[in-house]
């Protein structure tokens, strides 16, 4: 069942359009992550769903019902803010109970629900404390608890981990993942600019750029089959290497040349294109491996080496000056100035046309 539908939704401030033509269906119980660079409109979109921002055009359906004009509190949606937005003058209990109090829920019922949420989030010992007496992680849990108490059908998370330090971020991420398991019927929409969070948490990822959806899909799909250059560059870390290439479309297939030299690739189809274009060849650093000079697809000089423990990253410059990163396991010993010859499985290569769209594989 569809929990949330966005149909041709638009939003603009003055003349500036910040959300254009967004079409998206989110299923009940699904965990959807909006990801994209800052300013891409992902938070705005989330706040439009919450009702904190108005919708200029298009429709928002919640549970199949037109909801553009429904006030936030009536949408059955709870939200966890980036800053947690805990009420500083109330203790944890009061923070959790506040929405119920406003809704005139009876006292015993409030007690019950708050207690349940506190138990779930291990907040029971802190119920009498004020937010400023809590650690960052505890505050985060209270913010989530506030959503749980409302028994909302949809949770919205606006970059909930960005205020935490690295270690806590990982721990909390796992907690959210567990929460997702426990509240299986609850739809969750999560905004982040961190693609690791997106990859680890999401059932589906929505990649946004400049107010538009670039691609929607399961994390692995986005990793394996990015629809365009933007998604390819955004998903994965370190980012995919992009190399200029000349694409010639012939008879429904694509021939790729770099610096006048043809590259042996298992075929990309032309996808109906024809002629010659300047395109881009993409390969992820982790998919590169050493090869003999003859078998090598790329050759370059090592500029800098980073030893990260389990992996080693080589920053290289190819013969034509294009920079390239390669990721090896730690056993590989590298030195600056060393010339490396690299290969990749043809199935790990990505090819994009002049418009940045991925070419379909055969």
């Amino acid at each position: 069942m569809t929990a949330i539908s966005l149909r041709d939704v638009r939003k603009s401030y003055g003349g500036l359009e910040v959300i254009s033509d967004v079409d998206l269906d989110i299923e009940t119980g699904e965990f959807v992550v909006f990801v994209g660079p800052s300013g891409c409109g992902k938070s705005t979109l989330l706040r439009m769903i919450a009702g904190l921002e108005g919708i200029n055009a298009g429709e928002l359906l919640i549970d199949g019902k037109f909801a553009n004009d429904v006030p936030p509190a009536r949408r059955g949606i709870a939200m966890v803010f980036q800053s947690y937005a805990l009420y500083p003058h109330m203790n944890v209990f009061e923070n959790l109970a506040f929405s119920l109090k406003i809704a005139h829920v009876g006292k015993p019922e409030i007690e019950r629900r708050v207690q349940a949420a506190a138990d779930m989030l291990q907040l029971t010992p802190y119920l009498k404390r004020r937010p400023r007496q809590l650690s960052g992680g505890q505050r985060q849990r209270v913010a989530i608890g506030r959503a749980i108490v409302r028994e909302a059908k949809v949770f919205l998370f606006d970059e909930p981990l960005s205020n935490l330090d690295a270690a806590l971020r990982v721990a909390t991420r796992i907690e959210i993942a567990r929460l997702k398991e426990r509240l299986a019927d609850t739809t969750m929409v999560y905004v982040t600019h961190d693609q690791v969070e997106a990859m680890t948490l999401a059932d589906r990822i929505v990649v946004l750029n400049a107010g538009r959806i670039e691609q929607v899909g399961r994390p692995v799909d986005l990793y394996d089959n990015p629809r365009n250059l933007f998604v390819a560059g955004f998903i994965g870390s370190p980012a995919m290497n992009f190399l200029p290439a000349t694409l010639t479309f012939e008879n429904g297939s694509t021939r790729i040349e770099r610096n006048g030299k043809p590259l042996v690739t298992t075929g990309f189809t032309s996808g109906g294109r024809a002629g010659v274009q300047n395109g881009t060849l993409g390969v992820r650093p982790e998919h590169l491996d050493l090869a003999s000079p003859e078998a090598a697809l790329f050759s370059g000089t090592v500029d800098l080496v980073e030893h990260l423990g389990e992996v080693t990253i080589a920053y290289m410059r190819l013969d034509d000056g294009t920079p390239m990163l390669a990721k090896f396991d730690r056993t590989r010993e590298l030195e600056k100035g060393e010339i490396l010859h690299l290969k990749a499985e043809p199935s790990d290569l990505h090819c994009f046309d002049a418009d940045g769209m991925a070419l379909p594989r055969r």
């Binding site: 921002e53 108005g54 919708i55 200029n56 055009a57 298009g58 429709e59 919640i62 549970d63 019902k65 037109f66 909801a67 553009n68 004009d69 429904v70 006030p71 009536r74 949408r75 059955g76 809704a103 028994e151 909302a152 059908k153």
Partner: protein
């Protein structure tokens, strides 16, 4: 739970409305409700009285009989043929131009000095700003009259030290200065503002200048002063507005007369005497309006001039 959600949801497909506009309207209504007291206040207690006083300023209203329209006669007299008015303007201008910069300068120096004394700062800060709290109270006026009276504290101390004494509040050469001193005595308020400003100067900036070898004086002029310049402007403007309107000290110290021979005839005191003692309320109202213009012009000038010396962090 789902029911709460649903109740307000409008079913079926409809033409999309501009929800933003609707919520804006709701917000405007809420704003109106919240602003009702203020709107009533500004209309009934400020705007209408202002209009009233503006109209009265063109009349010879004597408080006791119906006002009579006299056109611009009040303003003409004010600007061209009332030596006492000019005197009051002179007195007030001297008061403002001397006491305000002096108070602000003292406040700045003390604040900078105080900011370096870490342990005792709170104590001194308290001692320094207490007088400005007591401000324009009658009790302070009484006190001042006694301190600078001919047998007052100052003269007792001076004669004890073997100096010639004089009557400070009885002599037109000095009387205004006792009030200037009173105003400077109350430098606490600007000082506290500066103190907060000094504390906000990033430590790194100060440390960087120390590393660059600047001595304390250079540091004051090159770093502290420019960084505090917005606060200096602010203090000057606020103190000036207050000083132009000073009333109680002059009223109490000169026994309501502005004497001796008008040497402490503050603008507002003369306005008060003309309006309430001499039955020229229309004239007093024209003075009030000219004062408003003076303050407005002065404030505008200060902000204009500030472009050339106030340094804002972008």
């Amino acid at each position: 739970m789902a029911q709460d959600t649903v109740e307000a949801v409008i079913t079926g497909k409809q033409a999309t409305r501009d929800a933003t506009a609707a919520s804006r309207r709701g917000e405007a209504w809420a704003a109106l409700v919240f602003l009702t007291p203020w709107i009533l206040g500004i209309v009934l207690l400020t705007a209408l009285p202002m209009i009233g006083s503006f109209v009265l300023s063109f009349s010879n209203y004597d408080l006791l009989s119906a006002p009579r329209w006299v056109g611009t006669a009040n303003y003409e007299r004010l600007l061209f043929s009332d030596p006492r008015y000019l005197k009051s303007l002179e007195v007030t201008t001297v008061y403002v131009l001397v006491s305000v910069p002096l108070a602000v300068a003292v406040a700045l120096i003390i604040a900078v000095t105080l900011s370096e004394a870490t342990r005792s700062a709170n104590f001194f800060r308290g001692v320094y700003y207490l007088p400005s709290l007591l401000g324009g109270s009658v009790a302070i006026g009484v006190l001042w009259r006694q301190i600078f009276g001919s047998s007052g504290l100052v003269n007792i101390s001076l004669s004890g030290l073997g100096f010639q004494t004089t009557s400070w509040i009885g002599d037109p050469r000095y009387a205004l200065w006792t009030l200037i001193i009173l105003n400077v005595w109350q430098f606490g308020a600007p000082m506290v503002i500066f103190l907060a400003g000094v504390r906000q100067i990033p430590k790194e900036v100060v440390e960087a200048t120390i590393m660059d070898g600047a001595n304390p004086v250079q540091r004051f002029f090159r770093i502290t002063l420019p960084l505090l310049s917005p606060l200096i402007l602010f203090n000057l403007v606020m103190q000036t507005i207050t000083a132009f309107q000073a009333f109680v000290p002059a009223y109490v110290v000169s026994d309501g007369s502005g004497g001796p021979i008008d040497s402490t005839l503050f603008y507002t005191l003369y306005l008060y005497l003309e309006g309430f003692r001499n039955f020229r309320m229309g004239y007093a109202m024209s003075m009030a309006w000219v004062l408003l213009v003076i303050i407005a012009v002065f404030t505008a000038l200060s902000f204009y001039a500030s472009r050339f010396w106030v340094h804002y962090e972008s």
